[in-house]
Amino acid sequence: APAAPPPPLGCDDPEAEAAAEFAVSYINGHSHHGYKFALNRIEQIRVLPQGADNEILFLELDLLETRCPILSPTPLVNCTVRSFTEHAVEGDCDVKLQKLNGQLSVLASQCHSHADSSEDVRQLCPDCPLLASLNNTEVLAAVTAALNDHNSKTPDAYLRLLEIGRATIQHHPAHVVSVEFAVAATDCTAEEAKDNLEACQLLPEDQSNFGFCTATVVTRPSQDLQVDCQLYGHQVPALRTLPSFPGCSTLPVLIEAIALSQDTS
């Protein structure tokens, strides 16, 4: 009698988990926007044997947004997944991998992200602030005020906005706009930027300092502005091609869809 085919690979099997971890690492490594994502669940796995020690794996993954910006040097394992009450963002990814002689490689991947529904957050946490559109005028004003405030208080390199990562607006009991945004150091000091801002250029790729700022702007009942910017130091990201202010389209566009030569579809 012919040998029975091996049982299908389960989503929680070690081989499936190893492939998923590899895929998540690839996705984070090839994304230039937003935050790192962590594996939440393997939704589906299919294996197509191709011959001896050669198989193709199709994975459907459910990811969750962490607090680590994509440029942060913090390893994913140390990144905290945003809680449900922070208005979580989920990523759905389809990944095609090859396992050849035990070595995994990603052939194609495609991801889409979306924020949890406001109704769900409201139900569990009526007072929690909800995600705001990144081109909301209050959000843009808060980012501008925060960056100006930081630049005016530091003698170091003048920081320019790379992208807004996320923003929330709380209406009660106070009116609070919270923003998070990525920045890059320029070749100007804040003092030089005052005189000729247009002349300030992002530092060359090999010298660039990237960083991340969080800020809260309170407008009611009283006015207050808190800004905290951290620079990561030298990085090797592919951010040079990004515009200094990339349009700030509405959520959800936090994971860049990655289309490679071979499509999973």
């Binding site: 929680d12 594996l39 669940r41 393997i42 589906q44 969750l64 997944v81 949890d116």
Partner: protein, 38 residues
């Protein structure tokens, strides 16, 4: 006389009982939720 038996009853009779302590295997997919479900 002819007696008609329900199929379900037959199936129940023919079913081999699981040994004590038997835990059915989990469905292969989807996998476990690591944090929370949206």
């Amino acid at each position: 006389s002819v007696v008609k038996r329900a199929a379900a009853q037959v199936a129940q009779h023919d079913k081999v009982p699981h040994p004590v302590g038997f835990v059915p295997p989990p469905p292969p997919c989807p996998g476990k939720v690591r944090y929370f479900e949206i």
